[in-house]
Amino acid sequence: MRSKLEIIFISISFIFTAFLFIIIGTLFIMPSTEGFLSAIFSNELLASIKLTLSTSVLAAFCVILVAVPTAYSLSRYSFPLKSLIKSILDLPMAFPEIVLGIALLMILGDRFLGSWLESLGIDIVFTTTGIIIAQFFVALPYAVRILYSTFNYVNPRYEFVSRSLGYGEFETFRKITLPLAKGGIFASSVVTLARCIGTFAAVLLVGGGTYLKTETLPIAIYYNLSLGNIDTAITAAIILVLISFGAIFVMEKYAHENMEGVN
């Protein structure tokens, strides 16, 4: 028998999930079938799907790689400027991506870093690299914030026991800390990947949004929308929904099977 609290809480989940479901579902009602089919096999959408997935996965991977040590340092060690660093890392979450995009453009543009990078033969603005960098900085703060809170929930004594059983710091981190933080790492991976896939303004500004070259799925949606190609826009959106749903469903299932007993 379910308790009162349980019923109320589950109802709330159902209600708001239903809302979201309807909102998302509306997308599927819109396009005509022919429009959908012709759009889905267009060069444009196929290219942008490929681009979106490859850049997002790479960017998300880099984010986790940087966010894990950063969040761990913030959670475990004390060092100068720590609370300043924490605030700076939180900041970009509150920016509209467009601000981050402008700032990135400025810094990577002519003046400082840009010309130096160019002299090294590294092009960032208007390239795929630019997209990845934009996605990286948009998503990094989310990952750090979630992982910071997660590492706070992992008891450092487990790490010490591992050390006293002969494992060095790195190994302990890998074998004890990371697995214990699995739940949070998973949560932050989902958020990070989602954020990378969904970034729009920053990627548009830094990547340039060139047709078939740096046009990610969100940009494709934007373009088509501005042209009134609602069918194509919505087809792109549906594809995004399907891809995301597939990826997330698989991830959640995998996590569920692998997390038994961890949390």
């Binding site: 008891n155 004594r157 487990y158 059983l165 002969g166 060095g168 697995p179 214990l180 007993g261």
Partner: protein
């Protein structure tokens, strides 16, 4: 010395671990006892490297390891609260330390299984630690530390959650394993059976200090501090005055007219002393008898109470109360009951003298 702890001091909030000195030979077995909150766990965890000492050194085979990282100390620790890895099953918990040293899976399996069998947890190997009972967790923690064959094994109340039989079984087991691998052990315990059955050395802690340490016999038969005497169960502790001596025997008056003889070779500046007699060293009889005992006092039984398999009686002699312990059968055959007159006899060898440091507080 194999392990030397010198002037180790740690401050944690109000608590202060205070100039702790310990010396252990290879394969020594030291049991640390002391009241709850006296700093036993903090001491073990400082030796293992979890807390950084404010002062003092930990020296292993002549090398200072005070600032060495825990993984290089060769010290393994069984925590009071187990700290089993929640993301590994029992097998993986036990195998964890081994995997660092050994690659071969079959070898690891056989070692883990053997250890698990010895600790009677082999049926639990695939279980998640969260689902174990208290005693099961504790044995997994012991197995995890023991299987790596550490140079030094620190155990913080490793048997506290075990029933008497399992406790006895593990006592024997640990003894064998320790001796086989020449492990040096420090074991914190609340159970005097661990002291009797395992300890070569005993240390008594109170308020972050080690009050006394030495061999089992030293500490239990010659407590140098009245807290120690009291804590280890020397229940007859009296304040007295040295009133004379006869050859090697000192004569101590503990109450007007009540003189006790002691053969303790006690060095005294002052004539004020503390006298300690262990209850189980007192013989009771209805009649005086002639024997080698030098102390024979007459008293009146004031109280009788059973504690487990034994009977404790309180006998008033003059204004002081002696406590003694005897089996229910002797009690019955002597017809002991309240207000009955009875004789107490004890050897002068069994009368310990201690400095009169501070007033004696009964708990």
């Amino acid at each position: 010395m194999f392990l030397d702890v010198q002037n180790l001091s740690v401050k944690l909030g109000q608590f202060h671990l205070h100039d702790v000195n310990l010396s252990l030979e290879k394969n020594d077995y030291m049991v640390i006892i002391g009241p709850t909150g006296s700093g036993k766990s903090v001491l073990l965890e400082t030796i293992a490297g979890f807390f950084t000492p404010d002062k003092g050194e930990v020296i292993m085979e002549g090398k200072k390891i005070t600032n060495q990282s825990p993984e290089n100390r060769g010290i393994s620790i069984v925590y009071q609260d187990y700290v089993l890895f929640p993301h590994m099953n029992v097998f993986e918990n036990i195998a964890y330390g081994l995997r660092k040293k050994i690659q071969k899976d079959s070898f690891i399996s056989s070692k883990v299984e053997k250890m698990a069998k010895m600790l009677q947890i082999d049926h639990l190997l695939s279980r998640n630690p969260e689902t174990l009972s208290g005693g099961e967790k504790q044995r997994v923690a012991i197995a995890r530390s023991l299987v790596v064959e550490p140079n030094i094994l620190l155990m913080d109340e490793p048997f506290a959650a075990l029933d008497v039989n399992t406790h006895a079984y593990l006592t024997t087991l640990i003894k064998n394993v320790i001796n086989k691998h020449q492990t040096t052990c420090i074991h914190v315990s609340h159970n005097f059976n661990d002291v009797y059955n395992l300890a070569e050395k005993v240390a008594v802690m109170k308020d972050g200090k080690i009050l006394q340490q030495g061999t089992l016999h030293d500490v239990f038969s010659r407590p140098t501090h009245n807290f120690v005497a009291d804590f280890v169960g020397v229940h007859n502790v009296f304040q007295g005055e040295i009133v004379g001596h006869d050859k090697s025997l000192l004569q101590i008056e503990i109450d007007p007219g009540i003189i006790i003889h002691s053969s303790d070779d006690f060095q005294h500046d002052s004539n004020d002393v503390m006298v300690a007699i262990r209850p189980e060293n007192i013989i009771f009889s209805n009649e005086k008898f002639v024997s080698s005992v030098r102390n024979q006092l007459k008293g009146v039984v004031k109280d009788i109470f059973e504690v487990g398999h034994t009977v404790w009686i309180e006998v008033q002699v003059g204004d002081v109360t002696f406590r003694g312990v005897l089996t229910p059968n002797s009690c019955e055959s002597l017809g002991i009951k309240r207000e009955k007159e009875i004789y107490l006899s004890f050897k002068s060898l069994n009368v310990n003298l201690m400095e009169c440091r501070d007033a004696y507080h009964s708990i």
